[in-house]
């Protein structure tokens, strides 16, 4: 088990190198002079020269990458072009805001997805199953930006029940009630698609497992239907369910950019979008890097969880070897 975790941890090292290189090279992919990209169009020639100097732009690419990486590792993402603040200062709080929205959306998606998926699979092709299939199809292909706007149209503009935008400061704003009210619509908009995807996956996985021989054996043993579903089937369905739940949480942590844009939620996705509009490359780099790191870590956690729940891996280096 420990061995598995160590091995799995080691695999993320090359991935993180690759990710950082990709993010580094983004600045060079951008059309135009790198100094323009990094300092903005209004920088003086002096500043440009400074940048060239400090980044060692006259040096070979690998050297530049090494320097850049060592800065990143010290938490220095550079300076934002758009508002002259340090990128790290800018993005970490934004990431925390995204995490709040991600967690509420994920909670909603998990509850709806799991219940719908399990119930649907327990009576395949019954009414609830058909309803679930239709729902997952619908919400699985509904564009989040459009769905978000519909919610705003109905709940904010027409009925005036809930605020759409205006969440600028999470901490020290209008207090917890205000935060919750501002969270409702974005949560629904962001959680709908993951809920559909999770429901679909849970249903398919449960159906697959319910068709296994050991389920037939459990039924032949006279185990109650509900127990078979909750204990025998669900326990085996856990790894794929954990995987899809982790994946969805990963997406959500990346900031459901569209939802953040529509609701002006001050998260990392919204920040990324603003940075893109301002062609603020250091911020784009910082934001994508932090999102990728979060994504990789969530997937790592899922893998460890799955390894832990799999007896074949858990006791692979067990005391007994028969």
């Amino acid at each position: 088990m420990t061995r598995f975790i160590v091995m799995r941890l080691l695999t993320i090292v090359p991935i993180m190198f690759g990710v950082s290189f990709f993010v580094f090279i983004l600045a060079h992919l951008a059309p135009g002079d790198v100094t323009t990209t990094l300092t903005g169009p209004y920088a003086t020639e002096e500043t440009r020269e400074q940048i060239r100097e400090s980044l060692g732009l006259n040096e070979p690419l690998p050297v530049q990458y090494g320097k850049w990486l060592s800065h990143i590792l010290q938490g220095e993402f550079g300076k934002s072009i758009a508002n002259r603040r340090m990128v790290a200062e800018l993005i970490f709080p934004k990431f925390a805001n995204s995490a709040i929205l991600a967690l509420t959306s994920a909670a909603m998606a998990y509850v709806i997805g799991l219940f719908a998926g399990i119930f649907a699979a327990s009576r395949p092709y019954g009414y609830f199953d058909r309803f679930t299939i239709a729902g997952t199809l619908m919400f699985g292909s509904i564009p989040p930006y459009w769905f978000g706007l519909l919610l705003v149209l109905l709940f904010s503009l027409t009925w005036r029940w809930l605020p759409a935008t205006g969440m600028t400061k999470i901490v020290g704003g209008g207090g917890p009630i205000d935060v919750i009210l501002h969270l409702i619509l974005p949560t629904i908009a962001a959680g709908a698609a993951p809920a559909a995807i999770i429901a679909r996956t849970v249903r398919a996985t449960m159906l697959e497992i319910l068709s296994q021989n050991y389920i037939k054996v459990a039924r032949a043993k006279g185990i109650r239907r509900g127990v078979i579903l909750r204990k025998h089937a669900l326990r085996n369905a856990l790894p794929p369910i954990a995987t899809i739940c982790g994946l969805q949480l990963g997406y959500l942590l990346g900031g459901v950019l569209f939802v953040e844009v529509i609701f002006a939620w001050p998260g990392i996705g919204y920040q990324l979008w603003q940075a893109i509009q301002a062609r603020d490359i250091p911020t784009i780099q910082g934001a994508s890097l932090i999102i990728a790191v979060a994504f990789v870590l969530v997937n790592l956690a899922v893998d460890v969880f799955n390894a832990y729940t799999d007896p074949k891996i858990r006791i692979s280096e067990g005391v007994r070897s028969r």
Binding site: Y125, N213, V217, R219, A220, K221, I223, R235, N236
Partner: protein
């Protein structure tokens, strides 16, 4: 016969598929006496497993028991609620499946899986149930049972897993044991051991047993009665000695001929008659065996063959046998 533990009467189990209605079992009747062994034989796809699972009411959609009666002691199994059926399964009727490699839940220990059955059907719990599990494991020949209680299925070989599954099936000393090709997936060397074990526990418990097999050698060694199936239908049914000595149905005759010729029980699989059985999707009227039958005549393609109680003591479903019986 009043001491029949199980009566199956005109059982029909169909699957509704896109391609049509697959009549996996279509008109099957037999009786099982206490303490006796009934072997069901037939080629792959002839409906043996579906029969066994119908008795246990394990058939799932798109399959359904569309007609027939299944009477266990004095209970009509088809009239029971699912709850009542659950109380019976694994308790009064135990079942062993074909593939031990996939029949145990990979994420639970062997002990948990045996104990679960005991707890479900008896008042035993905790330590007592575990002690009973150890006793059962010893009974089915698993060495050092105490130590293996907390092992997972993947730490067991195929033969050992089948022993565990037998232990589960007999945990509540059932009245009927249904074994669906319990040795097909195992090494040849292990097959005999498992069959001997089954035979031993069946005698010890005094249960009746339905043993499904491909192997006529096994039939002759273990069966009291035999039922031959073909393409979902019953072909011939009766006392094993009677049928082996004097097979009446052309299909049974073909099967037995092929063993006598080869005279090697290992080769006595049911493949020796040339051709393949039809898949009974929306089958036309007539005998399903007619394309391969040496005695087929016009009537065989027009009407379903009748049930004939033969003078020799078996029941055969065949036009030719009917004609033979009618002749003086």
């Amino acid at each position: 016969m009043s001491d029949a533990v199980l009566k199956v009467d005109d059982l029909r189990t169909h699957f509704r598929l896109r391609a049509g209605t697959l009549k996996a079992v279509d008109g099957l009747s037999f009786e099982l006496q206490a303490g006796r062994v009934l072997c069901i034989v037939g080629e792959s796809g002839s409906g043996k497993s579906v029969t066994a699972q119908s008795i246990m009411r394990l058939i799932m959609p798109p399959g359904r028991i569309v007609q027939g009666g299944i009477t266990f002691r004095d209970q009509d199994l088809l009239a029971l609620t699912e709850r009542e059926m659950e109380d019976l399964r694994g308790n009064r009727i135990g079942m062993i499946f074909q593939d031990p490699m996939t029949s145990l839940n990979p994420v639970f220990t062997i002990g948990e899986q045996i104990v679960e059955t005991i707890v479900a059907h008896t008042s035993l719990s905790g330590e007592d149930a575990r002690a009973r599990a150890v006793e059962l494991m010893r009974l089915v020949g698993i060495p050092e049972p105490e130590g293996r209680l907390s092992d997972y299925p993947h730490q067991f070989s195929g033969g050992m897993r089948q022993r565990v599954l037998i232990a589960i099936a007999i945990a509540c000393e059932p009245d009927i044991l249904i074994a669906d090709e319990p040795t097909t997936a195992l090494d040849v060397t292990i097959q005999a051991q498992i069959l001997r074990l089954l035979s031993d526990v069946q005698k010890k418990l005094g249960s009746a047993m339905i043993l499904i097999t491909h192997d006529l050698g096994v039939v002759s060694a273990m069966a009291d009665e035999v039922l031959v199936m073909y393409s979902g239908r019953m072909v011939e049914y009766g006392d094993v000695k009677t049928i082996f000595r004097n097979p009446r149905h052309p299909y049974t005759q073909g099967l037995l001929d092929s063993i006598i010729k080869l005279d090697d029980s290992r080769e006595s699989e049911l493949r020796s008659i040339s051709g393949l059985p039809p898949i009974p999707i929306d089958p036309p009227p007539g005998c399903a065996f007619r394309d391969r039958c040496v005695k087929a005549f016009d009537l065989c393609g027009e009407q379903d063959p009748p049930w004939v109680e033969t003078g020799t003591g078996s029941t055969a479903v065949c036009h030719a046998v009917a004609a033979e019986e009618a002749a003086p």
